[in-house]
Symmetry: C2
Subunit: 332 residues, 2 copies
């Protein structure tokens, strides 16, 4: 390694300015994904304190628990943070009231129609970002006046789009189609991938899988240890007849995957799934019968780091990759 690269390796960048960092008033174009059973106030505040945007995932929280997490997050960081809000949940109106009451600066909406709620947040001065898996939905979100979109590809963990469009393909379409900033999600597992996303025209990345394995993640230790062992090919998108979801392969996965390939009906699949399986797997650590939502890029996890350590590692990789690209011999 030459002296210049050595310097960068030990002194990674502290600020990368993009339209998203300006919109959200943060230092780094790194957004932590809201994830069920992983992203409470501990993870969110750690990410925000490290210069990214921490996100409380309300999908696995009751209204009371969400309020507790918002209050704790505010006291643990002075930096902006967000709440991720699946729009199809039953307590949606109470959750919205809470977010407005506590002046949460950013809301990331998903799993639902952004046109119903975006204006409520915007009137309260809250920045709205909506998660999509296709250009069609990106255009709908833009029409609903959201401030930015997260474009999430097939390789992402958890619930996923039906078109199976990968992050690489989706970005090439969506960045051209909309004129609001795009955040790349799905498969971001290194600083190189952050630079790749920016090369594709994204203004930031959203990272779920890597943060799920962090010290501050609420996931069960069993689940985190399992993530260290994941190899390429160990996750798969299943339950395509219900809501497609990417899972780590385990006994439960095999059961539902087999049922699906045998042509079982939606009702039969729903019965096999039952209730509370993600909690059982991710939060309670049942690696056999639990539903282990995680992305393809979990194969890159080889150590449990703090959110700060993970971000530092990503920035070092980003710097090295950026230097290499800046010095690429291109002749005109």
């Amino acid at each position: 390694m030459d002296e210049k690269l050595k310097f960068i390796k030990n002194n990674h960048c502290v600020k990368i300015q993009t339209k998203i960092t300006e919109l959200l008033n943060i230092d780094l174009p790194i957004i932590q994904a809201g994830m069920v059973w992983c992203s409470g106030w501990k993870l969110a505040s750690a990410v925000s304190n490290a210069g990214g945007l921490g996100v409380i995932g309300s999908g696995s929280m009751s209204v009371d628990i969400l309020e507790e997490h918002i209050i704790k997050c505010k006291s643990a960081t002075n930096n902006p943070f967000a709440v991720n809000l699946p729009l199809m949940y039953k307590h949606i109106n109470q959750q919205i009231d809470l977010i407005i009451k506590h002046k949460v600066p950013v809301v990331i909406t998903s799993a639902g129609n952004p046109s119903t709620y975006t204006s409520i947040f915007k009137e309260a001065g809250i920045t709205v970002i909506h998660v999509v898996s296709s250009t069609k939905f990106a255009l709908k979100a833009q029409a609903a006046s959201v401030d930015a979109i997260v474009a999430e590809g097939f390789e992402a963990g958890g619930h996923n789009g039906r078109d199976e469009t990968t992050t690489l393909c989706l970005l090439q379409e969506v960045v051209d189609a909309v004129n609001i900033p795009v955040i790349a999600a799905g498969g971001i597992g290194s600083g190189n991938a952050i630079l790749a996303a920016l090369s594709l025209g994204a203004e930031a990345v959203q990272i779920g899988t890597l943060f799920a394995s962090c010290e501050e993640s609420s996931a069960n230790e069993n689940f985190k240890q399992a993530l260290i062992q994941v190899k390429e090919g160990d996750t798969k998108l299943v339950m395509k007849q219900l809501t497609p979801v990417r899972l780590l392969k385990n006994a439960f996965f095999e059961k539902i995957d087999k049922a699906e390939s045998e042509g079982k009906t939606v009702e039969e699949l729903r019965e096999i799934l039952g209730k509370g399986r993600a909690k059982k797997g991710i939060f309670e650590g049942d690696l056999i019968d639990g539903e282990l939502e995680i992305g393809q890029i979990s194969s890159k996890i080889n150590k449990i780091l703090s959110a700060k350590e993970l971000i530092n590692q990503l920035l070092q990789e980003f710097d090295l990759s950026l230097q290499k690209i800046k010095h690429l011999p291109v002749i005109y």
Copy 2:
């Protein structure tokens, strides 16, 4: 657009130097994929003449036809070109003899074990590149002493790996795992994507889908016109119980997809597939009953260009993206 960008827009780069351009003695890190019924001598020589590496796809050729294409390609370009060779085909030994006899400078092997044939080519002074869809197979190819690998992700057209690892995820794994140069394939549909691939540590890209639609492609005009109409979500990976293949959705696709989701046996699926369907679709232009192999990124095709025009467009996009990345405000 500022003056500098305007200049670049009209005067794109003519040379991008990487380990792969040095290995292959070409100007641009752009390799055209060998594709059944698309990539004969016309497309291959056009790509090589434009500074990339043109590739004759032998998968749909008899031994005599392959020889004819090699001879015509040599007379149509003075630049290096390659033959793509699926290793499981029955005339493999005669094809190898031909490639050596005509001193084809590069061979790209796929669909088979590289340890059987690599040494034969290397002894004849031929550069060997092997196509893989996983890090496991990349390591095997490296152990077989190939000179470089193509790492091809889930979004690629045609035959595909079983793990469903996307190009973005695969590159992040494979580049760290091997010490030979890696060529990114699957989902490369713009100059931005070329820069993204280089950011991820690839030394070149392999592009299939975009070249399949070019003027010089042997594909039927019906097929090319269909490619212009493709929208996001119009392709899908099917026949997972036989050999997974990404197809454009048409009547044949619906038939086999339905059969698969109903849990039909391998034998039943094979009967539905029958023989010669790719030829019927791609070469004869039967858009109803043909097997239309194409990648997800076909949604980016909106005009039939010559190979030279396509490459120029990619280079212009690459330049713009590179300038943006070079000027990214990063603070240390």
